[in-house]
Symmetry: C2
C-alpha cells in the first residue's frame, strides 16, 4: 500500500494563503510571536515523525492489537519507542500552557499536527490526544497545586492522560452515572465504580497515567447537576513528582472492537482509589465541556487524517491498476488496459473523497481560528462572537467531518474492487478505524441534537445568523471572482436554502418538540455542506488570485466538482426536512 504522506502543500495553502492564520495570530495577545516561518517549520518537523516513525506502525498495530494480562496492558509493537520519539520532540505540549511547560501554540496550527498524527495512526494518536484533552480540563479548572504537579509531566508525555466518563448503563446520559467519590479528611476523595470504553486507560508507554474521572459525591443532586470531576493518578506522586504508591484501581479487561485495534479500550475498576477534585463540586460536566469543544474538533480531524491516507492509497492504486478502457478510447495503448483513473466513476469516488477531505481541512482550521480568537482576544465583543461561532460549528466539525470521512473511506475502498476488502491492502482498516469517530465523544446524532436544539432553536437562530452574515459579506466582497468561477449563484442559493430551512425548523420546533430530533442529523448535513461550500469558494478565490500552477488549478477544479456534485445533496436533505417528524413518530413501539 501507499506510504502515508502528510499533505504539507495543502496545509500551507489553507493555513497561510486561504485563511491567513499568521495575520490572525499576530492580532492576538500571546500568539504574536508565531509567524508563518515558525508555523511552516513546525508542520514540516512534525510531518517527519508522523511519516517515518508513526505511520509505519499502523498496519501491525491493527493485526496485533493490545494485550491484557493481569491488569497490565502491552501496547502494539513499536508504540513505546514511537511514544518516546514523539515526546522527545515536545509534541505533546505543542498547544499546552507555557506557564507549565507547554509550547503555547495556537489551535489553528496544532490542529494541522493533529491531522498528521491521527492520519498516521489513529490508535497511537489517541494517547497524546487524550493526554492533551486531560491537560486542557486540568489547566482550566484544576488548582494551582494540581496544575504545577501534573501539567509539566503530562505535556512532556512522561505521564499520559485518560478520560473516564462512560459506565455500562450510562453513555450519552451521564446524569445516570453511579461512580461515587467519598470525601476524606485530607481533602482527597475515595473513588469507587466501574468505567467502560476508557481509551488508553492502561498501557506501558508512560510511567504514570492520570485519569480524569466523573463521579458523584454522596449527597450530590440527581442527574447531570450532581457530577464532579476527579483527578485519579495510577501512581500517586509526591510533591516533587516522584512516583509513590500504586493507586487502588485497575484495568479489568480490554474490549474487542471493529477497529482502532491498536488502542487499548479499557474497563476500569476503581476500588477506593484516591483522587482529587478538579474544579467545583457538582460542576464536573461543565469542566468536561471546557475541553469538549477542542476534543470534538479533534475527532473530526482524526477521521479526516485517516480518510486522507485512504485517498492517497486509492489514488496510487487507480494510477497503477489497469483494467478496461477509457470511454473515449484507449489512453494507454501499449498496455492491455487503461489505468482505473480514466474511468469517470472512479474519478467520482476519488473526487468525492478529495473534495470532502480538503473542504474538511479548511473547515477545521477555520473553526480552530475561532477557538484561538475566543481564547486569546481581549476584545469582549469579538470574544463573544468567536464563542458563538465555536458553539455553532463544533458539532459540525465533529459530526460532518467524520460522516464525510467515513463516506470517503468507503468510496476509496470501493476503488480497489475486491482488493479493497482484503486486509493486506490496508484500505478496509481505514473504514473500520474511521467508523468510531462517528460514535465516540458524543455520537453524531447527539452532536446534531446539540446543534439543532441548544445552538439553533434555543438561540432562536442568532448564532447561525452571525455566520450567514459573514458568508454573505464574503459573497459580496468577492462577487466578481465568484461569478467568474461560476460559483456565485450556487453559493448564494445554498446560503438562502439554509437560512430558510432554519427559520422553518425553529418555527416548527416551537409547536412540536419532536421536530428537533427528527431534523437534527439532516440539518447538520445541510449546514456542513454549506460550510464546505463557503470554504471551497474561499479556496477557489484564493487559487484564482494566485500565480497559475497545477496545484492551484486543481483547487479550482475540485471546488467546481464540489459545487456540481456534492453541494446539490442539500436539495434532497431539505426536501426531507420539510416533512417534519410526523411519519417518524407515527409508529407504535410494537410496529418496529
Amino acid at each position: 500500500m501507499a506510504d502515508y504522506r502528510v499533505p504539507l502543500q495543502d496545509m500551507r495553502f489553507v493555513l497561510f494563503d486561504v485563511l491567513q492564520s499568521p495575520r490572525l495570530w499576530q492580532s492576538l495577545k500571546g500568539l504574536g510571536e508565531v509567524d508563518a516561518d515558525t508555523a511552516a517549520a513546525v508542520i514540516e518537523e512534525a510531518a517527519k515523525i508522523c511519516e517515518q516513525v508513526i505511520a509505519p506502525l499502523n498496519r501491525e498495530a491493527d493485526e496485533v492489537g493490545c494485550q491484557w494480562a493481569d491488569g497490565e496492558v502491552t501496547s502494539p509493537p513499536g508504540f513505546r519507542e514511537a511514544y518516546q520519539v514523539f515526546n522527545e520532540g515536545g509534541w505533546g505540549g505543542l498547544g499546552g500552557n507555557s506557564a507549565y511547560g507547554g509550547m503555547g501554540m495556537p489551535k489553528s496550527l496544532v490542529s494541522a499536527v493533529e491531522e498528521m498524527l491521527q492520519g498516521a495512526c489513529m490508535s497511537f494518536g489517541l494517547a497524546p490526544m487524550l493526554t492533551a484533552g486531560a491537560c486542557l480540563a486540568l489547566d482550566a479548572h484544576g488548582s494551582d497545586q494540581l496544575k504545577a504537579l501534573y501539567l509539566p509531566k503530562m505535556y512532556s508525555g512522561e505521564w499520559s492522560g485518560s478520560m473516564d466518563l462512560t459506565e455500562p448503563h450510562a453513555g450519552t446520559d451521564l446524569g445516570m452515572i453511579r461512580t461515587r467519590a467519598e470525601p476524606q479528611a485530607d481533602g482527597s476523595y475515595r473513588v469507587n465504580g466501574t468505567k467502560i470504553f476508557i481509551t488508553w486507560g492502561e498501557h506501558d508507554m508512560a510511567e504514570n497515567i492520570i485519569h480524569l474521572v466523573l463521579a458523584k459525591l454522596p449527597d450530590a443532586p440527581a442527574g447531570t447537576r450532581g457530577i464532579s470531576l476527579f483527578l485519579v493518578p495510577k501512581f500517586i506522586p509526591a510533591a516533587d513528582g516522584s512516583l509513590g504508591a500504586r493507586n487502588a484501581f485497575s484495568c479489568g479487561a480490554l474490549e474487542k472492537k471493529m477497529g482502532i485495534k491498536g488502542s487499548a479500550t479499557c474497563v476500569m475498576n476503581f476500588d477506593g482509589a484516591q483522587g482529587w477534585l478538579v474544579g467545583e463540586v457538582n460542576q464536573g460536566l461543565a469542566c468536561m465541556f471546557t475541553m469538549m469543544n477542542y476534543e470534538r474538533v479533534v475527532v473530526g480531524i482524526q477521521a479526516l487524517g485517516t480518510a486522507q491516507w485512504a485517498y492517497q492509497n486509492a489514488v496510487a492504486y487507480a494510477r497503477e491498476r489497469v483494467q478496461s478502457r477509457s470511454p473515449t478510447g484507449p489512453q494507454n495503448p501499449e498496455q492491455e488496459a487503461d489505468p482505473l483513473l480514466v474511468h469517470p466513476d472512479v474519478r467520482r469516488m476519488l473526487l468525492t473523497a478529495k473534495a470532502y477531505n480538503e473542504g474538511g481541512r479548511a473547515f477545521y482550521v477555520y473553526v480552530a481560528q475561532w477557538l484561538d480568537t475566543a481564547k486569546y482576544t481581549d476584545d469582549a465583543d469579538l470574544r463573544t462572537r468567536a464563542q458563538n461561532r465555536v458553539a455553532l460549528l463544533t458539532p459540525v466539525a465533529k459530526a460532518f467531518i467524520s460522516d464525510t470521512a467515513f463516506e470517503s473511506a468507503v468510496a476509496c475502498q470501493q476503488v480497489f474492487g475486491g482488493h479493497g476488502y482484503i486486509r493486506e491492502w490496508g484500505q478496509e482498516q481505514f473504514v473500520r478505524d474511521i467508523r468510531i469517530t462517528q460514535i465516540y465523544e458524543g455520537t453524531n446524532g447527539i452532536q446534531a441534537m446539540d446543534l439543532m436544539g441548544r445552538k439553533t432553536v434555543a438561540a432562536d437562530g442568532a448564532l447561525l445568523a452571525e455566520y450567514l452574515t459573514e458568508i454573505r459579506d464574503f459573497i459580496t466582497a468577492d462577487a466578481t471572482a465568484l461569478a467568474q468561477l461560476s460559483l456565485a449563484d450556487s453559493l448564494n442559493a445554498a446560503v438562502n436554502t439554509l437560512d430558510d430551512i432554519t427559520r422553518d425548523l425553529i418555527a416548527r420546533a416551537a409547536i412540536n418538540p419532536c421536530d428537533i430530533g427528527a431534523a437534527a442529523v439532516e440539518y447538520l448535513h445541510v449546514l456542513g455542506h454549506v460550510s464546505y461550500a463557503y470554504l471551497w469558494a474561499k479556496m477557489a478565490c484564493t487559487a484564482k488570485a494566485g500565480e497559475a500552477s497545477v496545484f492551484l488549478d486543481s483547487k479550482i477544479k475540485t471546488a467546481q466538482f464540489y459545487f456540481a456534485h456534492l453541494l446539490p445533496r442539500i436539495e434532497g436533505l431539505t426536501a426531507s426536512l420539510k416533512q417534519g417528524s410526523g411519519t417518524l413518530m407515527a409508529l407504535a413501539d410494537e410496529q418496529f
Copy 2:
C-alpha cells in the same frame, strides 16, 4: 444480541398479498403445482433450520474463521454439521431442475429462502449459493452427460460448486485472464493458471468440489471473445459418480478479509488440472451471464438478509436500553430514563433500515417473478418483456439493495452508540459482512455502468419505458387509494423525474461518452428509489385494502415515512446528475 428471526409475516405479505405469486405460478407451465400452502410450508420449514441451526454459528464463524493447512481448509465450528442438516432437507436443490433431482421451485419462492439462509449466516450461505449458481450455468450450458453426472450430486449438496473467474491482474476486466486450457485427445482439457478470490474453492464440508473455471484456449481470440468455461472437479468422478483421482489443483492460501471471515476466500492454483468444456468454445462469458442475473439478485438478497438481522438487533436494543428522556416528557417515569425508541433520531435510523429492508424484500420478489416469467412462460411477447425487465432491474437489485443494506446496517450500528463498535454486540460484524456485497459479483459501479450503458443508453430507454408504463398503469388503476394514502403526487412526480433525467442522460451520452460513467451510480440510485417507491405504494395499497391490523398499519406508516424522508433523496441525485461529467474529467491525472 437478539436471535435472528425470519420475517415470515413480512415474507408472506409480499409473496402472497402484495405480489400474489401463487397467481403468477399457476399461470406458468411447470409451476402450476406450487400453491400458497406449499409455499408457506416451504418458508416455514426453511426458517426453522435457518434460525435454529445456521444463525447460531454466525458469531463464532467470524471469530474463528477458516483455517488453511497444506492446501486443506477447515471450516468454522459447526459448519460441517449444519451443511449436513441443510442438505438432508433438500434445500440445496430447491430451485434446481427436477429432471436431475432438483425441486423445481420458482425463484420468487426460492429467493425468500435465500434471504433467510444468507441472513442467518452469510459466510455459511455462500457455499449453497455458489453451488446453486454453478448448477444454473451447468444446467443451461452443459452437455447431457455432464449434467447427469454432476447435477444430482450438486443439488443434494454432496458435491459443492465454486466459480473461478478473477485472476490477480484481472477482476472487472475478465478479457485479460491468462488461465489456459489445452485440449486433450480424450476430449477433456488441461487447465493451468491462478485464480483468486474463489469463495469456498476448498473446504471440508462436501466430499467433492466442482469448479467452473474461465480459461482461454491456445488459439483463442483476444479479450472477452476468447474465454471458455470449464468444469474442473476436485476429485474426478467415474461414470457412476464414485470419486476417483484427486485433480491437479489446490488451494494455495486463504485471504484475510474485512468480513465474511467464516467463508474461505481461496487462491486456487491449477497445475494441468483435468476439466471439461461447458457450453461452446469462446462462449464462456455468455455461459456465466446465464447465471449472473440469478446470482446478482442473490447478492442483493444476502445484503438484505443481513441488514434485517442488524435491524432486529437494533430494535431489541432500542427497546431495552434506557438513556435520556423523550422530547415530549418522560414516557417511562418509573425508570431512570426512557428507552432509546422514544428518540426521533433513533426512530429515523431504525425506520431508514426498516423502509429499505422491506422495500428491498418486495423488490427482490418482484424481480424474481420476472425471472420466473422469463424462464417458464410460453408467451413469446411476455417472455421478451420479462427478459427486458430482468435485464433492466438486475443491476439495481444487486447494487441498490446492497448499498441501502450497508447504509441500514451502519445506521443500526449507530443506534448502539459505543456498544455498536464492540464485537460482542454483533452489530459491527453485520457492517463488515455486508460491505462485500457492494463489491463482489461485479462492483456496484460496474452494475451501474451496465444499467446506464447497456440497459439504458444502448437500448435508447426502451426497457425503462416499459417499466414506467407499468408503474403509471398502477398509479392510474389505484389512483383513489394512493390519493387517500397521500402517496399519489409524490409517486407521480418521482416517476416523471426519472423519465426526464433518463431522456436527458441519453441525449447527453450521445455527445459525451464520459457522461454515462459519470452518471451511472447516481442514476442507479434514482431508479432504485423510484422502484422502492412503486413497491411501497403497492404495499400500502394492499395494506389499506386488507382488514385493519397493527401489522398492516405499520406497512402504511412505513410507506409514508419512505415517501417523506427517503424518496426525496432523488432531488439531490438529479441535481447532481444534471451537471454532467465536466468537472469529473477536468482534473489532469497529477491533480489527484
